[in-house]
């Protein structure tokens, strides 16, 4: 993700390489800056994760009462994948669709806040995030109310025949995708806002002076210049959305369950730790793979 720093966009100076290390303590500076955060992540994330990595290779026949032996059971991976590939596919599919929806909504919003809102900027920014301060569950329950079979929305859609008379929204993929879109939208909007806020309006003027319609200006100037924010935003949206399971559980049916639901059940209900761990690592590597392909396509010279 250092890639972000070297996306060939942003205002001029970013194009020049970082300055050569200065002599003396300045060579140490990056390490000093990194130390607290990296140490924190290492200790509280990486170390526990190693334990999990080991767990994914435990003998699948172990049990809680007898304990597990590390038998390097790599077979856990193919087994898990074979059993749950539909959920895998569904996770990426739903997260992908939700991402597209979120982009369509989030970009204009971020743009408006960053460039058009003037002194209401901060207020609007908080408007984006404030819904997150009402608890997640409350929000989702509210969505259930809105999407309810007997609610006004379904009624309206039925009246305009967008939905059959027996059609419903709740407990369908639509509701799940909608829930994902809703819940992770701020993750997309905030980084986008942060990078659009910096956009120099003079560039937009220059572009429109050079015959670019607003659409072309967007495509040729705004978009590339906001690329770091866009990449960050899509990542912050897509990654957690792929691993999410609560939306599927509350707004969907078993037929919409995503990989997160499976992992949840493996760890908590079925107590199959090796499989749960294997699935987790499969998910992580799948996400990382998608992300790296994405970063390359996005034109970053350096991935990681």
């Amino acid at each position: 993700m250092s890639a972000l720093a070297h996306v060939p966009t942003g205002s001029g100076q970013s194009a020049s390489p970082p300055p050569a290390a200065r002599p003396g303590r300045h060579r140490l500076l990056p390490y000093l800056l990194l130390l607290p955060g990296a140490a924190w992540l290492f200790l509280f994330f990486a170390v526990p994760l190693l334990q999990l990595a080991a767990a994914s290779l435990y003998d699948p026949d172990g049990s809680l009462s007898t304990g597990y032996a590390l038998t390097w059971a790599f077979g856990n991976y193919p087994t898990a994948l074979q059993a749950y590939w539909p959920q895998f596919g569904r996770s990426f599919l739903y997260a992908g669709i939700a991402l597209v929806l979120a982009l369509l909504m989030g970009y204009p919003l971020a743009y408006a806040i960053a460039q058009k809102a003037g002194r209401w900027k901060n207020l609007l920014l908080v408007c984006v995030i404030a819904p997150m301060f009402t608890s997640f569950l409350v929000r989702t329950l509210a969505w259930k109310t809105i999407l309810s079979d007997n609610g006004w929305l379904v009624g309206l859609l039925r009246d305009v025949h967008l939905l059959g008379p027996d059609g419903r929204l709740l407990a369908t993929p639509v509701a799940v995708v909608l829930g994902l879109t809703y819940n992770f939208l701020p993750f997309l909007v905030l980084p986008l806002y942060a990078s659009l806020e910096r956009l120099d309006y003079r560039l937009l003027e220059a572009s429109s002076d050079l015959y670019a319609s607003p659409l072309k200006t967007f495509r040729r100037v705004t978009l590339p210049v906001s690329m770091p924010g866009l990449i960050a935003g899509t990542l912050l949206f897509f990654i957690p959305a792929t691993g999410d399971y609560i939306n599927a559980e509350l707004l969907g049916t078993p037929n919409q369950y995503m990989i997160g639901n499976v992992i949840d059940s493996a760890f908590l209900v079925r107590l199959d730790y090796p499989q749960g761990a294997a699935l987790s690592f499969l998910l992580m590597s799948a996400i990382l793979a998608v992300v790296f392909v994405y970063l390359r396509r996005a034109g970053t010279e350096e991935v990681l």
Binding site: P30, P48, I146, I263
Partner: protein, 267 residues
């Protein structure tokens, strides 16, 4: 702008429901339908003392983790954007992975660490966990802002006797601030709203999401809606107040009538 308003509407839709229900006298504990208008919930927002304690605790945890995660993450973002050093790629994976890891996995594995280390679970283990999963989000958000910042301004500051620290404090920080604010907001909402990881590492401490989650098992008390609405309103009011105050201060300071910049630019 029109689209933006629509999207804001979309964001507020559930909040409107929540707000409406906060004035509801539910027909029973399990019902989530509007039944009868009442102000009781607002008059007496603490359904049980537990709930308000939980809200308070969540806010505290949110603040502490936000500050810590924002600080750590911002420093890392700076190091990553501004410096080349060995071990960069490894570090990037380390920053990336927490976002890609299912929360459940993070929650249980961290719990295992705490148990193994004999750390008593409670407020501070929650904070540790929250800082851990917020840091990545902060790093990515701040980096997006930092990438492409105009280095010439920092050079100018250095030229004007500002040491590295002063340059950071006076120039870089204010310019990166929108990114940091965005990151902090993100971190706070992540922390305030987190249930899964918190639940595993909380010991007997109860946070607001845990309370709501639990309450939902037996029907949600309408006061939860009050808290939800109130949190939303408080956030808005705080910002509104601060921006109004800023405006007044600015007004007082401006001698010549100076309009807002490029008030008339179109796009």
């Amino acid at each position: 702008m029109g689209v933006a308003l629509l999207v804001l509407g979309y964001l507020f839709l559930p909040i409107a429901v929540v707000a409406a229900l906060s004035f509801n006298r539910p027909s029973s504990r399990l019902s989530y339908d509007f039944n009868e208008f009442t102000l009781d919930n607002w008059r007496n927002p603490c359904a049980t003392s537990d709930m308000c304690d939980a809200v308070l605790r969540s806010v505290q945890i949110g603040f502490i983790s936000t500050v810590a995660a924002t600080a750590l993450g911002t420093l890392m973002a700076f190091a990553l954007v501004r410096h080349r050093f060995r071990g960069r790629s490894g570090l990037n994976v380390l920053i990336f992975l927490p976002m890609a890891t299912p929360e459940l996995v993070m929650g249980t594995s961290l719990l295992a660490l705490f148990v193994a280390g004999g750390v008593p679970l409670g407020f501070w283990t929650i904070v540790i966990a929250h800082v851990m999963f917020c840091v990545s989000f902060v790093v990515v958000t701040v980096k997006a802002r930092l990438a492409g910042m105009d280095r010439r301004l920092e050079e100018a500051a250095m030229d004007l006797y500002a040491s590295e620290w002063q340059t950071f404090r006076r120039i870089t920080l204010p310019l990166v601030l929108p990114g940091i604010v965005a990151a902090a907001l993100l971190a706070f909402s992540l922390s305030f709203d987190d249930f899964i990881i918190t639940n595993f590492n909380s010991g007997t401490t109860v946070t607001f999401p845990m309370y709501v989650w639990g309450a939902a098992q037996r029907g949600i008390p309408p006061q939860v809606n009050v808290i939800g609405t109130a949190m939303f309103l408080v956030a808005l009011l705080l910002v509104l107040a601060s921006s109004l105050r800023g405006r007044q201060a600015r007004r007082a300071a401006v001698t010549a009538a100076v309009p807002s910049p490029r008030a008339s630019t179109r796009s």
